[in-house]
């Protein structure tokens, strides 16, 4: 009886998983095994692995995702740390989370306005006598906008892990002779690692498949796996190749999840 009840409540969850997780992944895998003429083949995979263009694109994706995550972390950690020491920290956090409620596309268009030849940034540069610059369609603008969009997703988990630290641990560290910096290094950083890892997952994985920002802000100069998938499905209509890249992307995501998983080793961590 008890078991039956439990399995009944599992139905919506299982239906969701089957329809929206398992089925799409199976379809992608299935699609990737057919070439453009509809014949079963492994050629998509072999051409992916043999083509320097695709491999370079993969490397590009990982490299840019890494840069975006790196800059996001660089800004988010100190921000989360400072936020946590403020009096009305929940309110300040909310203000940082607020922009995530605005549609991604709108924010991206806003940056086109800001960064274009006649945009506010160039206006300002001309005003201070620095002359106008090509800002849009550069690596800089791509990484800048992508980081801007991802920052709240990094701040939130780090903030939460900082918030969870028992203040008496900080006192204990000071009590045992650690300076403020040593306390930060030996107590605060290790205890916030779970937050950093979740932040890394929340930022790195979506950054791997960014395509809209690469188009609108990067001006197609930055080509990532996300862009390539869109291209294959909408332009060249080579669904097989698009799915193959999709499979590669899914594998990459699993690899990242595996590398940043929570580890609890017996006998404590080595430092």
């Amino acid at each position: 009886m008890e078991m039956q009840k439990k399995s009944f409540f599992m139905v919506p969850y299982l239906a969701w998983i089957a329809l929206f997780v398992v089925a799409p992944m199976a379809l992608i895998l299935y699609q990737s095994l057919f070439d453009i003429t509809g014949h079963f083949t492994f050629s998509n995979y072999t051409s992916y692995l043999e083509s320097t263009t695709y491999l370079k694109m993969t490397f590009n994706s990982i490299w840019y995702a890494f840069l975006i995550t790196f800059f996001t972390l660089l800004i988010s950690y100190p921000t989360a740390y400072l936020l946590n020491r403020l009096k009305n920290k929940r309110l300040w956090l909310l203000l940082i989370i607020l922009p995530t409620w605005i549609n991604l596309l709108l924010k991206t268009y806003a940056f086109i306005g800001l960064f274009s030849q006649n945009g506010s940034v160039n206006d300002f540069l001309r005003f201070v006598g620095a002359g106008s610059h090509q800002i849009l369609f550069t690596d800089f603008s791509f990484i800048f906008v992508a980081s801007y969009i991802e920052i709240p997703f990094m701040i939130l988990p780090i903030f939460n892990s900082l918030d969870e630290i028992n203040p008496s641990l900080i006192n204990a560290s000071r009590d045992l002779g650690a300076s403020a910096w040593q306390t930060f290094k030996r107590v605060i950083v290790p205890l916030t690692m779970p937050g950093v890892k979740s932040g890394f997952q929340a930022v790195f994985i979506p950054s791997l498949s960014l395509f809209m920002i690469t188009r609108l802000i990067g001006g197609n100069r930055v080509i990532t796996l996300g862009t390539a998938i869109e291209e294959h499905f909408l332009v060249t209509q080579n669904w097989g190749m698009g799915s193959t890249i999709g499979v590669i992307l899914i594998i990459a995501m699993f690899v990242v999840m595996f590398l940043t998983r929570e580890r609890k080793s017996k006998g404590g961590q080595s430092r």
Binding site: N171, A172, S173, R174, L176, A178, L191, G267
Partner: protein, 361 residues
């Protein structure tokens, strides 16, 4: 008093505008077990945090071995703390926790290993080096916290209600161990608690605190036998407190009679309060008693009966007796003159001590 290790001079502390410590003065001698005893909000933990260096006094000076220490940051003080929630680092295992302070002192690896093993032996947890903190029980965490603190060989060890999270039996065991540890190491212990029984059992010296002031300091026996005022008498142990007047030296009037007592030095006919501990009262037949009470209730507590009754003036009396009596009966109470302790209203510790000295030689 020979060279105190810690001195508080005129220390006050305010949070915003709320005073939590009001002009505190005291001295702590090296190598003894001190207890700060008081209800929550009395300021005892604030004193401890000031000694540790987590709080600054609003005014006044703290001296350590004769030198000012209140401006020294916590990490530079030769003092360690055992926290109420133990504050063990969850990301480190037992030996890494104990080694935390030693590594900061740049001690060599072999020395650290030896010290960790020695500290664990002191708290009877040898062989626990590689355990995770999560895998320890409450009592074990407590011991590891102690081991971590004593590994640093502090001159003073501060203990912030360290036993309050343990169950009754474990708490009793740890009390015995803490006392033994203090005597073996010879380190000055400053222990904070609101548990008067714990304070009496452990301490060489007790400071009884209330409302930001130290009301009385002394050995457990002094404080128990000669409480300075109503608050201390009531807070430390059970007591019967009734109003009376001092007829003359060594003669006190209450319950419409004069009783012989051992206190003196008051004004004639000064209103006072009389304290008699429940265990000092014995029950006898009504006509043989020095005074008579009517029994209202009787509780069996294992070791004895707790009997409550009231006298002719409706003052309540509690008696701890190993003999049973009957509820509703009138019984007599007997006690000796030295069982009566007299408290004056509003007497401070200095005049109290001076008055006691004047006739106790």
């Amino acid at each position: 008093m020979a060279n105190p290790i810690i001195e508080f001079k005129n220390i006050s502390k305010k949070y915003d505008d709320t005073p939590v410590l009001k002009k505190i003065d005291f001295e702590i001698e090296s190598g003894k077990f001190y207890t700060l005893l008081g209800p929550s909000g009395s300021g005892k933990t604030t004193i401890l945090r000031m000694i540790a260096g987590f709080e600054d006094p609003t005014s006044g000076e703290i001296l350590f071995e004769g030198k000012r220490i209140d401006l020294t940051p916590a990490n530079k003080r030769p003092i360690n703390t055992i926290f109420q929630d133990y504050a063990l680092f969850p990301h480190l295992n037992v030996s890494q926790n104990i080694a935390f302070g030693l590594e900061l002192k740049k001690m060599s690896k072999t020395d650290i290993q030896a010290k960790v093993a020695e500290s664990l032996r002191m708290v009877q947890l040898s062989g626990y080096e590689n355990r995770e903190i999560d895998a320890l029980s409450g009592g074990q965490k407590q011991r590891i916290a102690i081991a971590r603190a004593i590994a640093n060989e502090p001159k003073v060890l501060l203990l912030d209600e360290p036993l309050s999270a343990l169950d009754h039996k474990l708490r009793k065991e740890m009390q015995v161990e803490l006392r033994a540890l203090q005597q073996r190491l010879g380190i000055t212990f400053i222990f904070v608690t609101h548990d008067q029984e714990e304070a009496l059992a452990l301490s060489d010296q007790i400071f009884v605190m209330n409302d930001g002031r130290i009301l009385q300091s002394g050995t457990p026996v002094d404080i128990y036998d000669e409480p300075i005022n109503h608050f201390v008498a009531d807070f430390i142990g059970e007591s019967n407190i009734v109003p009376g007047t001092m007829t003359a030296d060594y003669l006190v009037h209450f319950d419409h009679k004069d009783f012989e007592c051992v206190d003196a030095g008051m004004r004639p006919n000064e209103p006072v309060e009389i304290v008699i501990r429940p265990e000092d009262l014995d029950i006898t037949s009504a006509d043989k008693g020095k005074m008579q009470v009517t029994v209202d209730s009787q509780l069996f507590r294992g070791v004895d009966y707790q009997i409550t009754g009231h006298d002719a003036d409706d003052h309540e009396w509690t008696i701890n007796s190993i003999h049973q009596t009957t509820v509703g009966a009138q019984v007599g109470l007997v006690f000796d003159p030295e069982d009566i302790h007299i408290m004056r209203f509003g007497e401070d510790e200095e005049t109290f001590d001076a008055r006691l000295d004047s006739y106790e030689e």
